[in-house]
């Protein structure tokens, strides 16, 4: 899984082992820490949980990772360009609500879905405009947006869940989050597709370079002719749209949305990105790291239960992983830089 190209597009595996080559490789791969962590935790649970190494168990991990990962993919992209989005949990809820309400009202499913995604994109656009036009830090802007949209969600639903019980499940729901083989769900395909697409944009396109430049050194980026505000604006829209997509995917399976849906998700998504080596300050990170970050989170969720540990431990465990991962990532980076 380490055989990925970095953003310069060069091959990555060292041809022969030498410390110097390894250090160069490591420097270009902030996701290595998350990969190593995933392997360690994986081996740990393989020993402690007897049924951990089964297709069902993998499918479970992937299902948790998928919804979180779709959100985290957008967050990673945005964080690399130097901004935060704390509103993704609320956007997930709002998008699912719009999807639910319109489908329930008899709209064609595809239309409902498009409207839900457009609304999410709109929220992202507003976030982006506020940040880029007023210069208010995105942490504050999106904290406000998180509260505002959660409030709207509560006000519109009056606290009741919106539930939809169709006679036959629309095919679009299957496409969004159906079970296609064993316990594997289509949400995982969306997730992998999105990770692949965004990583391609990030490492293979000029826009990807602009994203890194915007988060790394804004002044230098501007001198080089990168429209940093435009980059940020686009990334805010992407982040919110993906959160909205995750909301639609979740609704397609459970056919029910309660107004607290997605609470706390933003922090889990940021945690996954950070575990994956994305810098809080921007300029560094990639989607492969986030992929391992969310897999790690998903694994801890089901691995702990299967090992018979009280599920109360989950949060404590994720907390530990975040801190350890960041320490390891920072050390590795410093060490690799010599």
């Amino acid at each position: 899984m380490g055989q990925v190209t970095n953003r310069t597009g060069r091959g990555t595996a060292p041809p022969r082992f030498s410390l110097e080559a390894f250090l160069t490789w490591l420097r270009r791969h902030p996701e290595f820490g998350a990969f190593a962590g995933t392997v360690v935790v994986f081996i740990g649970f393989s020993i402690t949980a007897t049924r951990f190494l089964t297709p069902d168990s993998f499918a479970g991990i992937l299902t948790v990772a998928a919804e979180l990962g779709i959100v985290a993919a957008g967050i990673t992209f945005l964080m690399i360009s130097g901004e935060f989005d704390l509103s993704v949990g609320s956007v997930l809820g709002v998008a699912a609500m719009i999807f639910a309400l319109t489908v329930k009202a008899g709209w064609p499913v595809l239309g409902s879905w498009a409207v839900a995604l457009l609304a999410s994109a709109g929220i992202g656009l507003i976030n982006g405009l506020i940040v880029t036009k007023t210069g208010i830090p995105s942490f504050i802007t999106t904290l406000g947006a998180m509260m505002f949209w959660r409030g709207i969600l509560l006000a519109v639903t009056k606290g009741f869940p919106i539930q939809f019980f169709p006679r036959t499940l629309p095919p679009m729901f299957f496409a969004l989050n159906g079970r296609f083989v064993g316990q594997f769900r289509t949400s995982a395909l969306w997730f992998l597709g999105i990770i692949l697409l965004i990583n391609l944009i990030l490492v293979r396109t000029r826009y990807g370079n602009a994203v890194y430049a915007t988060g790394g050194n804004r002044d230098a980026a501007r001198v080089l002719g990168v429209a940093t505000n435009k980059v940020k604006l686009i990334n805010f829209v992407i982040s919110a749209t993906l959160a909205g997509l995750a909301g639609c995917i979740q609704f397609a399976r459970f056919l029910s949305i309660d107004p607290t849906r997605g609470v706390g998700l933003e922090l889990e998504a940021i945690a996954a990105a950070v575990i994956g080596g994305t810098l809080l300050t921007g300029g560094a990170g990639n989607l492969v790291g986030t992929l391992f970050g969310v897999l790690l989170v998903g694994m801890v969720r089901s691995g702990l239960v299967q090992s018979g540990a009280p599920a109360y431990w989950y949060q404590a465990f994720v907390g530990l992983i975040v801190v350890v991962a960041v320490i390891v990532n920072t050390r590795l980076r410093r060490w690799a830089l010599g």
Binding site: E67, T157, K158, G159, P161, T260, R301, Q306
Partner: protein, 322 residues
């Protein structure tokens, strides 16, 4: 003629004045740990509003009932809201005693200030001398609810292994439901676990899958509310475990209702929470106005909804009473 008119006018003025003097305005606060986002509390709010409207429309008095509850479960937020309610010096406070230690000080302060307090939904579990001296409690008995749920399952058959899914760890009421259930199961020789599943349905399903994979002999499940019932029903349906696993639920929403109709769930425990919003407002009014008090706590649950009464309940749900 003229004197008669004056007399009539005077009588009217006196009558009008007396109405003004007699007509009182009361403000009551309901401070709850349950956010307006929880469907359960939506029904309590309706009960509260209906009681206030009934008094306001049916008497010369006016009752304002205000609901406060944190959107996401937070004890700090609950205490803050309680403090702002006390600061408003209302004519009565209705509170859920979710955490007796944290609520002890503010509620005692309110009572010392002469504000009548009624506990709803979750009582103070301490003995009479130590508990917060509220007037009385209106609500279900959580522990008894858990016990009765287990007894109802055991009356059908003795399961091999039972588990309680708890979605809000540390919530005193939920923990009591779980305890009552697990004790009765343990007494019947059934191993019983408690599993924390959280509030995100996707993650909850995978936690449940993890539990079933580690304990495949599980054949009795008790959920503690709609947030836990949704992933459980989804899991049982997706895994084809319907009919193999006895499912007892708590509270009612559309998902639980359909689960009972489809035979996925055996029953759901309810505490008729409409009454927990309605009765305290009525009693606070009666207490303020006439000094009336009931002799005891008022138990609104455990009540059961199953295949036998689901039809009637379904009608009432549409109207927001369940």
């Amino acid at each position: 003629m003229r004197s008669l008119r004056n007399l009539l006018l005077a009588a009217l003025v006196v009558l009008g004045l007396s109405t003004v003097i007699l007509a009182e305005e009361y403000t009551f606060y309901v401070v709850s740990h349950g956010g307006p986002g929880d469907p359960f509390w939506g029904v309590v709010m309706k009960g509260m509003q209906d009681a206030a409207a009934m008094i306001t429309n049916g008497t010369e008095d006016t009752v304002n009932a205000i609901y406060l509850g944190p959107a996401v479960y937070s004890l700090t937020e609950l205490v803050n809201m309680l403090n702002s309610a006390i600061a408003a010096r209302p004519d009565g406070i209705v509170a859920t005693i979710t955490d007796p230690a944290a609520l002890d000080e503010p509620l005692r302060r309110a009572i010392d200030l002469g504000i009548p307090v009624i506990a709803i939904n979750v009582p103070d579990p301490r003995p009479a001398g130590e508990r917060i001296p509220y007037l009385f409690y209106v609500g279900g008995d959580e522990y008894l609810s858990g016990r009765k749920a287990a007894e109802r399952m055991l009356a059908v058959r003795t399961p091999t292994r039972a588990v309680v899914f708890i979605h809000e760890v540390g919530h005193h009421g939920l923990e009591l439901r779980a305890q009552g259930f697990m004790e009765v199961m343990a007494d019947a020789g059934v191993p019983a676990d408690k599993l924390a599943i959280g509030t995100d349905p996707t993650q909850a399903v995978e936690i449940i899958r993890g539990y079933f994979s580690a304990n495949p002999d599980t054949d009795a499940v008790f959920t503690l509310g709609p947030i836990g019932t949704l992933p459980t029903v989804t899991f049982l349906r997706e895994q084809g475990l319907v009919g193999k696993v006895m499912l007892g639920c708590f509270d009612l929403d559309e998902v639980t209702l359909n689960a009972i109709k489809e035979g996925i769930a055996m029953f759901t425990v309810t505490q008729q929470q409409y009454l927990q919003g309605y009765l305290p407002i009525q009693w606070l009014y009666l207490y303020n106005k006439y000094g009336f008090l009931p002799a005891n706590d008022i138990l609104t649950g455990p009540g059961f909804v199953d295949a036998s009464n689901i039809g009637l309940v379904e009608q009432l749900i549409i109207q927001g009473y369940w």
